[in-house]
């Protein structure tokens, strides 16, 4: 069975799923997601083939003779197909159980499959028009999924999302047309062949536009504002797909244009990307820390991880433009590896958040607590996800961040002082990000799963259904696998890396991941094994020390009886030190409202309310939109409703044309 057949089969199953979910009804409707899962399996195989370097191209279908659909896949597309499919598999299984309790399941299933297909179409599209159509289809469908609840809030969020991504698309259109004009080709391969003819300034313009266009979709600072609004409002299986893979299509497009089509640009491109990546990761995680809405928190972490990915890609570009292809390859491997990892653990975390909301009917962490007892599996998987995203060994996040560190550390090989200095700073930013992320997930897991339940909802939470657990389990296992078998993953990545940088970064992986350039090496498997042995040893040691009695009692309550759940540390309290330390960034506000019985002597109640200033919204977007709106309202004067005025317009137009026209 050849690769095309796998593709055909996969796509067929998704289409079937889309149709069936509209046709069927009742319980059977949920099981249509099994079809999507099967499709995902097929496409995983196809993607692996593809990433192994077998090229495919589908005969193109004309739209108008000038424009035509054409799909073709290379190793890079293959890698992204694999990533999408892996997450899709898990999410589809999860959705079987999850979609039971959401309204309008038929529409859900339809859009769900359509959404996935559009993502495949994006990474597989062979020319600009196909890319644009798939890209916007993806945006539109996801817009409908974001606004799935149809309430005011989601409508607002969806609007913001749709508009920002549309503006991004406008930039993409321009840069595509520019490429087309100067290369005379509409298909990427043709562009690549003719890209030498593009003038230098135009290349720069294309680079900048691609940052804006694809960056908006990927959610880099400062084009991120849609992301923490849109992702949380979507149903959780969707937000997991959006955060896990949809924003990666932005990364895909960026790599496709700047590393594949344009080849190597000047050095400052790479440096710019490193800086953007560093800023995005730090700012993203800082805002995540202040969120107590669990899905918003995860959304901000997506911004952070995109930043980390960009650190890798940026240094890869930087090396590439200096002709250091080995190093460039290492950095790119780091970036792509983290792309995969983020897809896995962020998907897992969003699914976990979905289960939590399913069980507690709230997104606010301050109302959770103690969930690990009623829902142990969800707790375990969420914990695994948290450990992975904090890049703690032996899970997958660690390996990719380790590689990123290596790449950044190797920056000192670059000729120019700037990149020599910028790259280690990127490393420092990465370290800061890691520490903050750890703090954030201690909060996220600790506050929502540990301690005493903070609300009746949390009190009587139930473990979620089997399929949901299975869906999460798959990803949790993958977190570990991708963490301890980096060789396999790099095996999948390296063909596309070789295609893009012309080198495999001479990373050897015989159980031991060792980078030839530096003599650094890492053996995650060995770390895991040694940890297991040590753990066993300790256990033995404890047992050998003999049996001791364990008494269960209340927590230490300083002598005053009955700890209530309100006495625990809240999420707000937990993050207060950081809020104060980084107040220059958060610009926190707090106001005290006092209601008196008899002013000013007898106070009835004191209310403290604090908030942090959303910098980019407050100082970038709000003024801009306000200006546009006011200008537009002024312009409405033109249509004052007075007929004489309109006649005047005709006369004036005519006069001007007669005077200047001839």
């Amino acid at each position: 069975m050849g690769i095309e057949n796998y593709f055909a089969a996969g796509i067929f199953f998704f289409l079937l799923g889309a149709v069936m979910s509209c046709v069927l009804s009742g319980k059977a409707q949920n099981y249509t997601y099994v079809l999507s899962a099967i499709g995902a399996v097929n496409l995983i195989i196809a993607g692996l083939y593809l990433s192994a370097g077998t090229l495919i191209s589908v005969p193109s279908i004309p739209i108008t003779p000038a424009l035509e659909f054409s799909f073709q896949g290379d190793a890079l597309s293959g890698f992204f197909v694999t990533v999408i499919s892996i997450l899709t598999l898990a999410v589809s299984i999860y959705s079987v159980g999850y979609t039971k309790n959401i309204g309008n399941q038929g529409l859900m299933g339809f859009l769900y499959n359509l959404f996935i297909l559009s993502m495949y179409a994006v990474v597989l599209s062979g020319n600009i028009i196909t890319f644009l159509i798939s890209w916007e289809t993806m945006s539109v469908v996801s817009y409908f999924l974001v606004t799935f609840d149809r309430d005011e809030k989601s409508a607002k969020a969806g609007l913001l999302y749709a508009v920002m991504t549309h503006i991004g698309t406008a930039f993409i259109i321009i840069l595509f047309l520019a490429l087309y004009k100067y290369t005379g080709h509409m298909d990427f391969s043709g562009m690549r062949a003719a890209s030498a003819g593009i003038p230098k300034d135009l290349k720069t313009m294309i680079f900048i536009f691609s940052i804006i266009g694809f960056g908006t979709k990927a959610g880099i600072i400062p084009f991120h504002t849609w992301l923490p609004r849109a992702h949380p409002t979507a149903p959780s299986n969707i937000s997991s797909l959006m955060s896990g893979v949809m924003i990666k299509t932005g990364i895909y497009g960026f790599i496709r244009i700047n590393m594949d089509v344009l080849g190597h640009g000047p050095e400052w491109w790479g440096i710019t990307i490193i800086v953007i990546g560093a800023v995005s990761s730090v700012i993203g995680v800082l805002y995540a820390l202040m969120e107590h809405d669990i899905k918003k928190l995860l959304a901000y972490h997506s911004i952070e991880n995109i930043g980390i990915i960009l650190l890798g890609i940026g240094s890869s570009m930087m090396f590439g433009s200096n002709g250091m292809y080995t190093l460039s390859a290492i950095a790119l491997i780091a970036g792509l590896y983290h792309t995969l990892n983020h897809a896995i653990f962020k998907g897992l975390l969003f699914l976990g958040a979905g289960s939590i909301m399913h069980a507690t009917h709230t997104k606010n962490m301050e109302d959770m607590g103690g969930l690990i007892k009623p829902m142990p599996y969800t707790g375990l998987f969420f914990l695994i996800g948290s450990v992975s995203i904090c890049a703690l060994p032996p899970f997958n996040g660690f390996v990719s961040e380790w590689l990123t560190y290596q790449a950044l550390l190797l920056g000192f090989n670059a000729p120019s002082i700037t990149s020599k200095i910028i790259s280690p700073l990127g490393g420092a930013a990465l370290a800061l990000t890691g520490a903050l992320a750890a703090a954030c997930f201690v909060k996220a897991f600790g506050i929502s799963f540990l301690g005493v339940p903070r609300s009746p909802h949390a009190q009587d939470a139930k473990e979620s259904s089997a399929s949901m657990i299975v869906g999460m389990a798959i990803l949790a296992v993958l977190c570990l696998m991708a963490g301890i078998f980096p060789g396999t993953v790099i095996g999948v990545i390296s063909p596309s890396v070789i295609a893009l940088t012309g080198s495999d970064g001479n990373i050897s992986y015989n159980g031991l991941l060792s980078i030839g350039k530096t003599f650094s090496s890492l053996a995650p498997a060995a770390i895991l094994i040694s940890m297991l042995c040590i753990g066993a040893a300790i256990a033995v040691f404890i047992i050998a020390a003999g049996k001791r009695k364990t008494v269960y009692a209340d927590s230490w309550d300083c002598g005053m009886p009955s700890l209530t759940s309100r006495m625990q540390y809240t999420a707000t309290a937990f993050t207060k030190p950081i809020r104060l330390i980084f107040k220059r960034i958060y610009l926190p506000k707090r106001e005290l409202s006092i209601s008196y019985i008899l002013k000013p002597l007898f106070v009835r109640s004191l209310r403290y309310s604090g908030e942090i200033t959303p910098f980019f919204e407050r100082y970038m977007y709000e003024p801009l939109t306000a200006f546009i709106r006011s200008a537009a309202s002024k312009a409405r004067m033109l249509q004052s409703g007075n007929l004489n005025l309109y006649l005047g317009y005709i006369l004036i137009t005519l006069m001007l044309l007669l005077i200047f026209g001839i």
Binding site: R636, G641, L643, N644, L647, I650, L651, M655
Partner: protein
């Protein structure tokens, strides 16, 4: 046997008269004189056509002049008077700007036209002035429409524009083929009648025929 020079001057005189009647609208404070001015204007127009017909001996021009006379000289004025009577409007024109100012502006318009239509572009067999005058009349008609509040005056302004239009057509081409003339005339007639109906409707709906009441639709 015809005295060309005399004929030429005749045409110039008539067209001058047309211009004057058009400009004179600016000065009237009430509606009836405007209607009268329009009637006069139409008569002059048709007589001009007749003279040209007599000169060139084109039959269809005679026809055109007759048709013009009947429709613009008789029918429409009558119709207008009926409307004016029906709507029982306060018979003031209520311009936005003072008559003096509007007079000067329409004067300026005439000058602009003369300046814009340089010699040489159009060489008509008859006269150097007719075209300029005709376009001037069109613009003055538009200007009237712009500056007056009463709906009925706008109709009159429109009619002046049409007269100017016919004059220009005549000046440029000795008039169109007759069938076209008739078609256009018919269209105009219909238009005016419909407009008249609407004037009455406005009167009914807004209890006034002032246009500044008609500003609900905006933005």
């Amino acid at each position: 046997m015809k005295n060309w020079v005399q004929v030429f001057s005749v045409i110039d005189f008539i067209s001058a008269g047309i211009l004057v009647t058009a400009v004179s609208i600016n000065t009237f404070k009430r509606i009836e004189p405007c209607v009268k001015a329009y009637t006069l204007n139409s008569w002059l127009l048709s007589s001009l056509t007749a003279v040209a017909a007599f000169m060139t001996g084109e039959v269809h021009l005679y026809a055109a002049s007759v048709v013009t006379f009947l429709s613009k000289g008789i029918l429409i004025p009558m119709f207008l008077r009926r409307i004016v009577r029906q709507i029982k409007a306060t018979h003031d024109v209520e311009p936005y700007i003072s008559n003096a100012l509007s007079l000067t502006i329409s004067g300026i318009l005439v000058v602009v036209v003369y300046a814009a239509l340089k010699e040489g572009i159009f060489v008509t067999g008859l006269s150097k002035h007719v075209l300029q005058i005709s376009i001037a009349v069109i613009l003055i008609g538009l200007f009237i429409m712009i500056t007056r509040k009463k709906a009925i005056i706008q109709v009159i302004g429109l009619l002046f524009m049409e007269n100017g239009l016919f004059l220009s057509g005549f000046a440029l081409t000795f008039g169109m083929p007759l069938i076209i003339e008739l078609g256009v005339l018919f269209d105009m007639l219909m238009g005016v009648i419909i407009l008249g109906i609407f004037v009455i409707q406005i009167r009914k709906a807004f209890a006034s025929s002032d246009l500044d009441k008609l500003t609900t639709l905006k933005g």
